[in-house]
Structure formats: C-alpha cells, structure tokens
Subunit: 136 residues, 3 copies
Amino acid sequence: MTDQIEITLPPYSRGFHLITNEIVSQLDALPETGILHVFIKHTSAGLAINENADPSVLHDFNSTFDRLVKENEPWYTHTMEGSDDMPAHIKSVLTDSSVSIPITGHQLNLGTWQGIYLCEFRNHGGSRKIVVTITS
Amino acid sequence: MTDQIEITLPPYSRGFHLITNEIVSQLDALPETGILHVFIKHTSAGLAINENADPSVLHDFNSTFDRLVKENEPWYTHTMEGSDDMPAHIKSVLTDSSVSIPITGHQLNLGTWQGIYLCEFRNHGGSRKIVVTITS
Amino acid sequence: MTDQIEITLPPYSRGFHLITNEIVSQLDALPETGILHVFIKHTSAGLAINENADPSVLHDFNSTFDRLVKENEPWYTHTMEGSDDMPAHIKSVLTDSSVSIPITGHQLNLGTWQGIYLCEFRNHGGSRKIVVTITS
C-alpha cells in the first residue's frame, strides 16, 4: 500500500530550515509500520535530517557548507546562472535528494533531537516542490 | 509488491555520467504509485541525482570532487590499490550507494532538471552493477 | 508487508565501524524480494556503506573526515556541547541518516566488498539506536 502527496513549500532564504511540521501537518493517519520517503524535485536544494532544537546548528551548517564548496572557484565552467548556482548543485549532492524515516506505531520514529531540513542553496530559490510517499 | 532487476552498466570513464535512460529503458510498466530504488554494488563509485541538461555541470562535479578529496594525501594508509582508490571510497560515501525516486501515475516523478548520475571515481572502474527495486 | 526491529548498538569509539553482522544476526528470515532500510536515531553519528575488508579504509575515512570538517573553526557558534559536537552534526549529514539495501533471494544483495558502517563522530557517543525496516 502506497500513499503519496506533493507539497509546495513557501520560498525559504538561503540556508538550512526545519520543515518537519510543514510535512507532518499535511499527512493523514500513518500506517502501523512503514517508511516515510521525502523527495525534493530540485537540483540546487537538498534534504537532510539533523538537530531540531538549537538555531545555532542551522546557522553553522550554512557557514560550513559555504566554506566546503565555495563560489567563484576558478575551475567552474557552469557559471551562466550566477555564482551561487554550481555550488548549489554540489551541496545538494553532499546533502541528499531524499530522506526516509521509519514509521512505528502510526508515528514517525525520529530520535528526540531529529528534524527534517530543507537545505536551500540558492540566493533566490523560490518555492520548492517535495513528494512525500508512505510505503507500508 | 516488489519488482527487481539487476543491470550491468558498460564501463564509464572517471567522472559523472547521466544514466537515467539506461535505467528507464530496461523497466517494465511502473505501478500507479511507489518508489524506485537504485543501488550500486560497489564501494568506489556512487549514485546521485542532479542536473540533467548541461554537460558543464557534470564536468564541474568531477573537478570539485577531485579537490574536496585529493589523491596522495600524506595521512592515507590504504594505498596499495592505487592513488585513485582511497579517494574513490570517500567520494562514494559523499555521494551515495543508493538513490530513490517517487513513482507517480506510472512514471518516475523527477523534477524537470533531474537525472540519475553514475559517479565513477576510479580511473578504470570497469563495468558496474546496479540493482533496481520497485516497491508499491 | 513491513517488518521492523529496533537495535541498540553498544558504544563505539570515535571512528568508522562495520556493523553488518550486528544487524544481520538480529534479523528473522528475509522476504524473497524487498528493501532493508536502516535508520539511525541520532544527529552526531551516521550510516554509510563501504569497503568491508581492510581496516586501513576505516582508519582513512576517519582521518579524512576529521580534515574535511575540522573542530574549533572560528565561525562555529554552536560550541556549548564540546569541540567535537558541531563537526559531528555536519559529518552525519555528509554520511547519511539511513542506508537501504536490496533484498534478493531472501538475502541482502550487497556487493562482495560492501558492508554497513556506523560512523561515530562523537568522542563519547554512547550507545546508539537504529531502526531496521524491511519492506517487501
């Protein structure tokens, strides 16, 4: 049995953002046991699961990713769409195009400190589409 | 219901390569709704999902990964299989051993610009095996 | 059909560790075809799939990750939980919160050289909880 919805997220600023509630609030009752799969339909933003409590973590993710994959590197050849574009593609592969979370007892079985991140790597990425699929 | 095939890819040169068609062309009819899971049975090549249109993106992925994880670092101890081997293991973890994509209306629900990448990190990786599993 | 167990791993030292047997030994008979999904309920440790034979690979993963994401970077603001904490969050996103592996003929369809890694990024991470879900 598979259940699926597509969610259009509002535009987020460049950086890492918690979207767990945005997703959970749009789900019907979850099955007893299964997997929740979240997929982002874009190549310059990513998904990840990490710390859900302290905004300083989100901040440090952003500044560290900006240093891991810098803008305007002399070896970039894909430069027509702005200096934030090619780094955004690479960062989205370093994070992920999908995350998947076990469902246990009709609930997401996340750890106490885990939340779902939207990782927006463009300066003006606009609204992003994600597909949520529940397999049981 | 689960459906599965194993595909042997032809050898690819070191770098990032689009293999969406190579996979899709070998699939039977897809279910109405589900997940397509692609797994690579190797530890020095990876999978990713990213930009499917401009070859300069594939080129820049390769040159950036070669700088993120360099060959011949003085701290490497696993050096018997060539200078491209240990970096290939690390790069394959930075990309992924599997990608999974929602199926919607009997089709892969990829974004307009998304394709599946084989990330070949060895100089002479040879042919690679992937396992494609469809869950619905 | 979905089957699920939660496993509490013993504490591991900081570094990369093979846990394939730890997982497989706790599974009942696997279905003919399906997906095994392993999820870690923590934000400062990760999962990955890589080389299962040579301990030097595990060693080099650790020293390379320690250089990719250093402790005590001047831009970190999340510093209250120790110098190993913020790098651990970032490394756990560079690896993964889950891995998934095809099941074929009632067995895990891993490549010859593939094993499942627990990537422990804290100095004293303690025991870690993982959730194993089998979808078929």
